[in-house]
């Protein structure tokens, strides 16, 4: 320890008058009393009871001398050398990515980083300038080349960790641009190390230092366990009747843990599952039969870990877009009624004479599904899925080789999903078309009966196979689309009168419409990234309600609005012309969820040739502490000197209270 102002020690001479005054004061006032008989024993008792009694008269003097000593020390301005940043310009890059919200150091990593930055700034020489850059997905200069420590402190205090990732490229190029203009700059990165560095690193014209933040950040293999929901996707099934969710939970840690996953639909719990998570093995989960009318689904890990941000995920169910169906028919009451009852269908009935196959050009409006009901098939089949009922003639997909009289319908497989809830027993069919099973198809219902044998088709591959049995219902994928063929006319069987009919039709439509629906799932939105809102063309203003309830109004220009304030995680509601749509913003970032801090960053390449690695030192002054100590001693001395009054006061208060 050294002193800036050693001359102040001369003031220690003030101790002499204090001691002198004390001795003067010690000349006690003499008072003659009748007898000291009682006092003598009293003082003896006191001395016997309290060994420090003898010291008592000196305690005041001691306190006063100590106070003087600390005041003199404070005036002498002692200081110690401490390792710190020097130089003219300190450029601080603070990582504000999602992982900096981890609470493995309290209150969180960002606060810890801000404290360390504050300490660095305090140790700077008074003339040095400070630049503070907050880096997440983008770089944000909070304080630019300022000597105002107050504004730096305010900026550090106002730092908030976002939900974004951490790409240091922008921050580093910004910092190097600032550093290039300076004489002796130093760049300090305060981060947990879960960052993306530019490859290759640009050469930096300054010294660069990385200060790791996080529990055990100084050790090479720190482990900070964290569990995260790394995926949540929703899918509609069975003609839009039910909703299923796919969730992926990943554990970033070294030992297996158990967590409970809860699923909420519009805030109501709908499912829960206990998970045992193995380190770094994403655990996929599927939840079926979620309420189909839910406007949002939230998955949440019960309990707490060090990063709360990735313990929840949200998703918006895909909007069931109407399935365009062209029905080519001369009129089929059964079929039309059944189709009308199924939700999400937009059925257009076209007479076979008027039907024209749409052109295959992508711009043309084509139907998702075309149903041919006992009509002659056109030469060129339309695009999209096909459901063909009782074909009259052969087509390029299959051949019609005759008719079967009164076949008995038998399920080809007992566990056929398409025949779920469909009871075929006692089904009466007057006549069916004989269709040998083509290569691309599989039989769902087969015919049984005296003339139910089918000659194998031209291909020799299936000679010995049991496909010699004629199919009554066949499905498959041909020429890149799904095709189903029912070999009998509905009007010539009692199927439409049975409960099985609408069920079978729903199953078939579900099967046939899979591809049509795949495209309508909303794309996931990353936090901080702009999201394009598709709008109705007549919308002029859009109101976006953020997860925390705040609403933002946006003027819509040309039917497309880009919304960029997506820093919050959760469900955003977009309202335009009274129509609502939603989108979800989720973290889903393995880099941010793996929160174990890294003790070093690969920064070697970035260090400029001119920067040395000598450890610079700065003075740390101690006079404030000494002044505080003197104040404390002064208070202690006062309390001691007035202890009698204080005791009397205490006794008075006690009697008042008891009285």
């Amino acid at each position: 320890m050294s002193f800036l102002n050693p001359l102040a020690f001369a003031l220690a001479a003030l101790a002499v008058p204090i001691v002198a005054l004390y001795f003067l004061k010690l000349q006690r006032e003499e008072q003659v009393i009748s007898s000291t008989y009682l006092w003598r024993t009293l003082v003896r008792d006191n001395v016997a009871n309290a060994p420090w009694q003898r010291l008592r008269p000196n305690l005041l003097l001691l306190l006063q001398l100590m106070m003087l000593a600390s005041l003199v020390l404070a005036l002498a301005r002692p200081f110690t050398w401490s390792e710190a940043t020097t130089g003219d310009h300190l450029i601080l890059i603070l990582d504000t990515s999602a992982s900096m919200q981890a609470t493995d150091v309290l209150p969180n990593r960002l606060s810890e980083a801000a404290q360390q930055a504050q300490r660095l700034i305090e140790h700077l020489p008074a003339t040095a300038r400070v630049t503070i850059i907050a880096a997440s997905d983008s770089a944000n200069v909070l304080v630019a080349s300022s000597t105002d420590r107050g504004s730096a402190e305010r900026a550090l205090r106002s730092l908030r960790a976002g939900a974004g990732g951490s790409d240091l490229s922008a921050a580093l190029s910004l910092a190097s641009a600032i550093a290039a203009r300076e004489r002796d700059p130093e760049i300090v990165i305060l981060s947990d190390g879960n960052v993306t560095l530019p490859r290759p690193l640009p050469p930096l014209p300054s010294r660069i230092r990385y200060i790791p933040i996080g529990r055990g950040a100084a050790t090479p293999d720190a482990v900070v366990p964290n569990q995260a929901i790394t995926m949540l996707a929703l899918r509609r099934t069975a003609g839009g009747q039910a909703l299923s969710a796919f969730v992926q939970v990943t554990h970033f840690g070294s030992t297996p843990v158990a967590r409970r996953l809860l699923l909420y639909a519009d805030g109501q719990p709908v499912a829960a599952r206990m998970l045992t998570l193995q380190p770094y093995q994403p655990q996929p989960l599927t939840f079926d039969d979620l309420p189909s009318d839910a406007s949002s689904i939230e998955a949440r890990l019960d309990g707490r870990d060090f990063l709360a941000l990735d313990d929840a995920a949200w998703a918006v169910p895909p909007t069931p877009s109407a399935l365009k169906v062209d029905l080519i028919s001369r009129g089929n009451r059964f079929l039309e009624t059944a189709l009308a009852l199924l939700p999400g269908l937009e059925v257009t009935r076209i007479a076979p004479e008027e039907y024209q196959v749409p052109s295959p050009a992508p711009s043309a409006v084509s139907s998702d599904l075309t149903i041919f009901d006992h009509v002659a098939l056109p030469e060129e089949l339309p695009g999209g899925a096909l459901l063909i009922l009782a074909p009259i003639s052969s087509t390029q997909l299959f051949s019609v080789t005759g008719a079967i009289k009164q076949p008995t319908a038998i399920a080809a497989r007992a566990d056929e999903p398409l025949l779920r809830y469909v009871d075929l027993r006692g089904l009466q069919i007057q006549e069916a078309v004989r269709i040998p099973l083509p290569d691309w198809a599989r039989a769902i219902i087969t015919a049984d009966g005296p003339d139910a044998r089918c000659a194998p088709p031209t291909s020799a591959s299936s000679v010995s196979s049991p496909e010699a049995v004629c199919p009554l219902l066949l499905v498959g994928q041909a020429e890149g689309r799904r095709v189903a063929v029912l070999a009998f006319d509905l009007r010539r069987s009692d199927l439409p009168l049975r409960v099985a009919f609408p069920v079978l039709l729903a199953n078939l439509l579900d099967y046939l419409s899979i591809e049509a629906k795949a495209g309508s799932t909303p794309e996931p939105v990353r936090p901080g990234k702009p999201h394009r809102l598709p709008l109705p063309p007549d919308a002029t203003t859009v109101t976006v309600t953020k997860p925390d309830g705040t609403a933002v109004r946006i003027e819509a220009g040309s039917g497309l609005v880009t919304f960029s304030d997506t820093t919050q995680l959760g469900i955003y509601t977009v309202e335009a012309n009274g129509r609502f749509q939603r989108f979800a913003v989720n973290l889903f970032d393995v880099n941010e969820s793996a929160i174990a801090p890294k003790n070093a960053l690969p920064l070697q390449g970035a260090v400029g040739p001119e920067s040395g690695h000598e450890v610079s030192k700065s003075r740390q002054e101690w006079w404030r502490w000494m002044a505080w100590l003197a104040l404390a001693l002064l208070m202690g001395e006062w309390l001691y000197a007035h202890r009698g009054e204080l005791a009397r006061l205490r006794a008075a208060i006690a009697t008042m209270r008891s009285g």
């Binding site: 008072q31 009748s34 009293l42």
Partner: protein
């Protein structure tokens, strides 16, 4: 507290006439019978002339025939002499602590003690008792000759007023000395502040010599609740010994506790030896003390 030293009263008039008339009503209570030298008003262990019958005994030659109980002779034809309780004076010993410590207090202990001793002595004189007194102080005993009869009251008051609280009283040796020669023995009234380490020894000596001891323990209000403050050097008025204290709340609390313990010690000592103990704070008026407190405590009646 030096300003509290009180000069002995120069007034020749210790008590008013009316007060003396009130004192005439009082009698000192003695629980024991003592042999006296002169006839008086107290029952004595002797047989003598009074109206109170004591015993019979056989007539022997030389007995006064007037004392023969003729009624008994008529019945038994034997001569019996009727004996009566003798009524004699008793000697009341008034032992007044006249050490310098008695000259303190406000109201002063010394004037208080002088008036109390005067009143008690007057009561004894008025009750046909003999008094002997001694002032204990200034390195020795200052005894009085025996006084008897109301006529001696002025002598008694004069002697009292001539005394001054001086020097040191060694209660132990002085009381022992008095107990040895103070004859005839009788009730002994000790007026003292007992601020001397040897008080136990002195009182024990009096008891040992069959005195019926009553301790009138006088303390001034300043001694019961000291009004001291700050860092002080307390000097003993008798010995000149100094005690340095810092009179704070704690210490004064300790003092009060110590005083109470000391009083308790005196009280239990007195109780063990059959000594009457009366604690008197000098703020108590003499009238209240004599006509109320001492009556209640059966010191006077």
């Amino acid at each position: 507290m030096s300003h509290l030293i009180t000069q002995p009263s120069q007034s020749p008039q210790l008590f008013s006439e009316s007060f003396l008339r009130q004192l005439d009503q009082l009698v000192l209570v003695s629980r024991r019978m003592y042999y006296g030298q002169m006839p008086g008003e107290r029952r004595s262990p002797r047989r003598g002339q009074s109206v109170e019958f004591a015993d019979y005994r056989s007539y022997v030659l030389g007995d006064d025939l007037r004392a023969v109980d003729w009624n008994v002779y008529a019945r038994l034809e034997k001569l019996f002499v009727k004996l009566f309780v003798a009524e004699e004076e008793t000697t009341v010993h008034l032992l007044l602590d006249a050490s310098r410590s008695m000259g303190f207090g406000h109201p002063g202990k010394w004037p208080y003690a002088v008036r109390l001793a005067g009143a008690l002595g007057y009561i004894a004189l008025a009750g046909m008792d003999r008094i002997r007194a001694a002032a204990l102080g200034d390195g020795g005993l200052r005894p009085t000759p025996a006084m008897r009869g109301k006529r001696q009251a002025l002598t008694w008051f004069g002697w009292l007023q001539a005394q001054q609280p001086r020097g040191q009283a060694y209660l132990g040796p002085m009381l022992r000395e008095y107990a040895a020669y103070g004859r005839p023995i009788g009730p002994a009234l000790v007026l003292s502040d007992l601020l001397d380490p040897s008080w136990e020894e002195g009182l024990a000596a009096l008891c040992h010599h069959q005195f019926e001891v009553t301790v009138l323990h006088l303390l001034s209000p300043q001694e019961v609740t000291p009004d001291l403050e700050g860092d002080l050097k307390l000097v003993d008025s008798e010995t000149g010994q100094a005690v340095e204290i810092t009179a704070d709340y704690d210490l004064l609390t300790h003092y009060r506790r110590r005083l109470a313990a000391w009083q308790e010690q005196i009280r239990s000592f007195c109780a063990r030896r059959g000594i009457h103990y009366v604690f008197i704070e000098t703020s108590l008026s003499l009238e209240t003390l004599l006509f109320s407190l001492l009556r209640r405590l059966r010191v006077v009646k």
